[in-house]
Symmetry: C2
Subunit: 338 residues, 2 copies
Amino acid sequence: MVNQKKQGLQTIIFEEPPVLTAWATIVGPKEGEGPWRSDFDWIMEDYEFGESSWEKAESKLLRETVKLAVSKKNYQPEDIELLVSGDLLNQITSSSFAARELQIPFLGMYGACSTMAEALLTAAMAIDGGYFERVVAAVSSHHYSAERQFRFPTEQGVQRSMSSQWTVTGAGAVVLEKGIYGGPRLTCATIGKIIDLGQKDANDLGSAMAPAAADTIKTHLSDTNRPSDYYDLIVTGDLGKVGSALLKQLFIKNGVVPEPNYSDCGVLMFNDNQDVHAGGSGCGCSASMLCGPLLKKMVQGKIERLLLVATGALMSPTTSFQGESIPGIAHAVALENP
Amino acid sequence: MVNQKKQGLQTIIFEEPPVLTAWATIVGPKEGEGPWRSDFDWIMEDYEFGESSWEKAESKLLRETVKLAVSKKNYQPEDIELLVSGDLLNQITSSSFAARELQIPFLGMYGACSTMAEALLTAAMAIDGGYFERVVAAVSSHHYSAERQFRFPTEQGVQRSMSSQWTVTGAGAVVLEKGIYGGPRLTCATIGKIIDLGQKDANDLGSAMAPAAADTIKTHLSDTNRPSDYYDLIVTGDLGKVGSALLKQLFIKNGVVPEPNYSDCGVLMFNDNQDVHAGGSGCGCSASMLCGPLLKKMVQGKIERLLLVATGALMSPTTSFQGESIPGIAHAVALENP
């Protein structure tokens, strides 16, 4: 098999780019009150989603999102050969319990909020490599299951700092297929390195992740020899207002990307009056924006080339308690209309 | 690219099987007192490993194991194009902090104790697919970091039930490369489905995982049209004494595998007098057995064909508290001498 990648580069170029043939997103009530209400498939009426715990609700959210994406192509879950999935909960139990119900062979990923890009690029390798023809990449996050795991018991009502972000309740699922179907193609992907500049403030994850996003975007453009305006939109996962402002400074410093075609899913997700402080975060943030408004715009031809740069803060409450700084990572996937 | 896999099968056959060109394992003091002392590269003198916490010790263990494996081929970490890694800690921080120090592009996996097989097969797809030429797959577990996270504060001295297993302190790392080098090859891999027969006892994970191991082994043999004695050894990851006894019953019921060529890393890891009850467990159990005695036996020609079936229990303390049963998974990788 030909080596499609120059040695030492972090970017994979797919020879036969897998096609995104269907996708779906289900989001929480608050996300449904934001600017993209009509672009989401389904808005949960409450955070319990008919379950007895937030964790069970999140797993159901992920499972139902996968089923909805699959149904759009008139497939059943058993028609899918591989599920590549992850989430924010300890031991990614939203994903494993969803995979239990779906009965699809399962690879579990953890990349914190970068997981949607990680799952998409792993799914694309599995298809373009010739191993599978029909793969689903999916992730979820849930505001209340994440808050109580990563921060404080939700009932305690701790005041949130202005640099903190609001974990999005949402899941996104994409069906990727081999072959000649229409639809956006996943043409290339850049696997990130961990960048950690010593930021320790778990209430400002955007600033911890921004340097990783800058590194991955720069590497992607350099590896592919593409100018930054090759893409109609370069969108980071969940840097939020603070992190994306820092990223813009890093862009200026590195002379990499002009501002007009850059945005951030965490900034886009909510309206200013929704009291989310620095914006949205969580795996579900970039996944819901991608599987909602962004892919819709690609189908409409309003975006022809999209670079999704999902960003993750790879710390845990334990590492923060132990005085460690926050390792950031960003993976990029290029989606292009044929 | 040719599709090397019949649709609907769970098994990948690699066209140009990646070669395991180097590997290493570092284990804890207790593991060093077991039957395989001389087969491990390095035995830690204590569980702190020069660090101020067990979690930091585990991350160092993983990092040093990767560096040791890489050094055996006279490579530096920067010569490695991709690190595929996971562990048992929440948010797989052993892996992400190791990846931070190693500065290798990083994909994080979570498959509980099945992660070594998951990482190996993902690394093999990344190489055989033509995307990378030199990839490291690595995992770790640490007895004390795992105990306090999954069970009780270690200092509490809670009595362990006889069906419980001892989380292995150990890490394994394998360098996989494309091309014509000698050494065992990763010829095919079977990605497991989740099997959950309703077992809820977190003190008997072996029984929760055994049905998944049985399913994956049966599927692997069926997908590849191989008789069970094709392999000199079929070895599960960490079913332990209770789980592997159950697996043998399932073999008899399904008429799948004759007993002589089956064993389990959890059973093999310790001596009977080491007071580990049902045997070893943890990602590091199968990884250390693989990167220690098993690959050594392959190099010596004592094993020509090995099927490693790493098994994972994909629950969390939270899901157990919420009354959920334990989803089991098993991934298989076939290693064959040329």
